[in-house]
């Protein structure tokens, strides 16, 4: 039997895995085809909109005013995107897995296939999508209709190259983390990075560093395209293509190294002991304890929550973001946190779902516990972000402060409601042990990410606009009906959960 492998085999394997994983969105279920169209259609529509709509707006492509301002901040936004891809890859243990470790263990999935799969999965997180759309939108408005096509081609290439570069760093850090004493070395690296960032901010050198970023060539290339020049943009294009190819190939080395080493974080968590606590004082508390432990003892969830709570907050702190911009933060953080597990909240029970279903407890109480733990974690992560961002934002006006608090409450309730609804309607068996795990198949995650990004950004913009009027009670007036609406929707989901057929379908699916 021939065992030699061609260099194209990993690419073919990725194709097979993509078909397998995207097939898990189950278009054969009743209404599944429509749902799949929605899942793919919404992000595609948003991408098309951010590519075209800004270029058609008044003042787009102008060398003065708002269009020029956007071109000036383009390099900083691109650098922020590169940092984001690095942090995402590091936080997800090198990159999200196309096939879960448990399912893939019997198959010869090579590290190269795993690396290419992780690259494909990288855009499937809310921060990547939002930042990517932001960059495409900025480029569209900055370039205008005339230069749109070549400018966006450059930006799309940059997004791909930055993602591949982030993956190289992610795999390298994971290889270190899985080495002997790697966890200590990794923590030292994180502390050193934070200290360096703090020093740059404290000494006012952050702007100098960002100005020296090579991403400045992107903005220059867009400007030259507007001037009708081809040489400079073509050179930038060549560099981006070379960077993309080199990064994709270079990532194979650290990926192979990392994947050959045992995942120490997961092993430590599974073999460590947890001191018993006293008996809970109520049924709800007993359920919530187990639910909370299921989140905090999961490597991807704990790491993801920490990253989501700290990263936007530190970015806001470094950039000295104003209070009115902070209003957008709770939505971004809550959506990201929900995508870690909330959109498939019952998967936390894993194979214990059938046993939990046999316990004599009111289903309403189990629902309140799970939704409460989810909402609490979303609020806590957003609170850390807001607290960090507020440190250099000065004193807020009453109107802005109330708008921020209202936005915080409304997006938490909206994201919790959407998550619990999706969790009951479309459960998936997901093993959240691996740092690289996701709670649902890729196609489903794309749809969830896009819908959450859209709704929470719109809510953030709504409260930012309301805050401009300077009347504190206006935010309360706007928030009250929104809270009432989503509270009512959450009640509908709870009633749906109280149906035995719904609970049995969820339990049997997540325990499979």
């Amino acid at each position: 039997m021939p065992t030699g492998r061609s260099w194209t085999d990993p690419i073919a394997d990725v194709g097979s895995l993509v078909r397998f994983r995207f097939g898990a969105a189950r278009p054969d279920r009743p209404g599944g085809a429509r749902r799949t169209r929605l899942l793919i259609g919404i992000p595609a529509a948003i991408t098309l909109a951010v590519l075209l709509v800004p270029a058609a707006a008044a003042g787009a492509g102008s060398r003065e005013g708002y269009a020029l301002d956007l071109l000036v901040i383009l390099p900083t936004a691109a650098t922020a995107f590169l940092l984001l891809t690095i942090v995402s890859a590091v936080a997800s243990g090198g990159g999200r897995e196309l096939l879960s470790r448990e399912h893939g263990v019997a198959y010869p999935v090579s590290p190269v296939t795993d690396h290419l799969g992780a690259l494909l999965m990288a855009p499937l997180n809310i921060a990547w999508l939002v930042q990517g759309w932001l960059l495409l939108g900025l480029t569209s408005y900055g370039a205008g209709w005339r230069a749109l096509l070549p400018a966006e081609l450059l930006m799309l290439l940059f997004l791909a190259a930055a993602t591949a570069l982030g993956q190289v760093v992610g795999w390298s850090v994971e290889a270190v983390r899985r080495a002997r004493y790697g966890v200590v070395a990794y923590r030292g690296l994180v502390v050193a990075s934070l200290a360096l960032s703090a020093w740059l901010v404290a000494t006012d050198r952050l702007v100098d560093v960002l100005s020296a970023s090579p991403t400045v060539h992107l903005a220059v290339a867009v400007a030259r395209i507007q001037d009708g020049e081809a040489g400079y943009p073509l050179a930038v294009l060549g560099v981006l293509v070379a960077l993309l190819v080199a990064s994709v190939l270079a990532g194979i080395v650290p990926a192979t190294l990392a994947l050959r080493r045992p995942p120490r974080d997961e092993a430590r968590l599974e073999s460590g002991t947890h001191r018993p606590r006293g008996d809970a004082r109520s049924d709800l508390m007993a359920l919530a304890r187990v639910d909370l432990s299921s989140v905090l003892r999961s490597v991807p969830l704990r790491r993801g929550l920490l990253t989501l709570a700290l990263l936007p907050g530190l970015a806001a702190l470094g950039g000295a973001i104003a209070w009115d911009m902070l209003i957008l933060m709770p939505g971004l953080v809550a959506s990201g946190a929900a995508l870690l597990f909330g959109v498939n909240a019952w998967c936390l029970d894993g194979r214990g779902a059938l046993w939990r279903g046999s316990l004599p407890v009111d289903p309403d109480l189990a629902f309140v516990s799970r939704a409460g733990v989810l909402a609490g974690l979303l609020m806590a992560a957003s609170a850390v972000t807001i607290a960090l961002g507020s440190l250099r934002a000065g004193l807020p006006s009453a109107a802005v402060l109330v708008a921020l608090l209202c936005a915080w409450l409304v997006v938490t309730l909206q994201v919790t409601t959407a998550s619990m609804r999706w969790s009951a309607r479309a459960p998936y068996a997901a093993d959240m042990r691996s740092a690289r795990a996701t709670p649902a198949p890729p196609a489903v995650m794309v749809g969830y990410s896009a819908r959450l990004a859209l709704s929470t950004t719109l809510l953030g913009l709504l409260f930012s606009t309301v805050a401009v009027f300077g009347v504190w009670w206006l935010s309360v007036v706007v928030a009250a009906p929104l809270l009432a609406w989503w509270w009512r929707r959450l009640g509908q989901v709870r009633r749906q959960w109280s149906e035995p057929t719904t609970r049995s379908r969820v339990a049997v699916t997540v325990a499979a």
């Binding site: 092993a267 968590l269 599974e270 073999s271 460590g272 002991t273 947890h274 001191r275 018993p276 008996d279 809970a280 049924d283 007993a286 359920l287 304890r289 187990v290 432990s293 299921s294 003892r297 999961s298 936390l348 029970d349 894993g350 194979r351 214990g352 059938l354 046993w355 939990r356 279903g357 046999s358 316990l359 004599p360 407890v361 009111d362 093993d431 959240m432 042990r433 035995p500 057929t501 609970r503 049995s504 339990a507 049997v508 325990a511 499979a512």
Partner: protein, 265 residues
């Protein structure tokens, strides 16, 4: 189980205090009524009928084996009895409670070891027991829990998350969770699957203790010999329907194996 194992099992049973008779048990040792009564049970998942008409009576002190090939409907029947999957048609009474109208009361009286996993991956065995004890309103449960964990050789991993457990350890822990509150109805779905001989022995003890206390036990398994060892009666399922309701001894030995094999085709 071999004779040697039977002797060991008897010795182990002797080393533990005799369980108190179950409240539902008749003083004579025979039940006054069925602890499990199933009539015309049907379960459909969309177009697929997983269970298509099962009748079952299980009395206090009786152990019933559910036997059959993969997809025969054994696990679905167990899930219905545990209150996890609702029946599409038919009536199911557990310890006198209708599962449709009085599910919580029925679940207070039953203990269930599911066929797959059965453990919350990031909770420790102690936390599982703590949650079950709280929801089942048990007082002074700790000694019983420690005793069972030791009997199933899980004492050393009491405070470790179950995600790191081997398959066999998970099975043993699932049996502990099903049995530790001394339920009136003990439902064990594939309790011997991948379990070592000591684990099998401990499970046999649990079944014997439950029967002695007047509980009724249902064991779903592919392992005919162990089913015969543990149970008094056997229900053979095929394609979601019951094809035989016989004494376990009728399926023993080579003749029994032949009879069982003929029921599967």
């Amino acid at each position: 189980m071999t004779d040697h194992q039977s002797t060991d099992a008897a010795a182990t049973a002797e080393s533990h205090p005799t369980p108190e008779p179950h409240p539902d048990a008749h003083p004579s040792g025979h039940g006054v009524g069925g602890l499990v009564e199933v009539r015309g049970l049907r379960v459909r998942f969309g177009a697929v009928e997983a269970v298509s008409g099962i009748d079952l009576d299980a009395r206090p002190g009786q152990a019933t084996a559910l036997l059959g090939r993969n997809g025969a409907g054994k696990s679905t029947t167990m899930r219905v009895l545990a209150g996890v999957v609702p029946p599409t048609e038919g009536t199911v009474h557990v310890a006198g409670h209708d599962l449709r109208t009085d599910r919580l009361a029925a679940q207070h009286r039953l203990g269930y070891c599911p066929d797959v996993g059965g453990l919350v991956p990031r909770a420790t065995p102690w936390e599982h027991l703590q949650l079950a004890a709280r929801l089942r309103r048990l007082d002074d449960w700790e000694d019983r829990a420690r005793d069972l964990l030791e009997r199933f050789e899980l004492g050393a991993v009491t405070h470790r998350v179950t995600a790191g457990f081997s398959h066999g350890m998970g099975r043993r822990m699932s049996v502990v969770l099903a049995a530790f509150h001394r339920p009136a109805v003990l439902l064990l779905d594939e309790p011997f699957d991948g379990v070592d001989p000591l684990g099998v022995e401990a499970t046999m003890d649990v079944i014997a203790d439950a029967r002695a206390a007047g509980a009724c036990v249902l064991v779903s398994t592919h392992l005919r010999e162990l089913a015969i060892e543990a149970c008094t009666t056997a229900l053979v399922l095929r394609g979601g329907a019951q094809v035989a309701d016989v004494s376990a001894q009728e399926l023993a030995g080579e003749d029994g194996a032949r009879a069982y094999r003929s029921l599967l085709d």
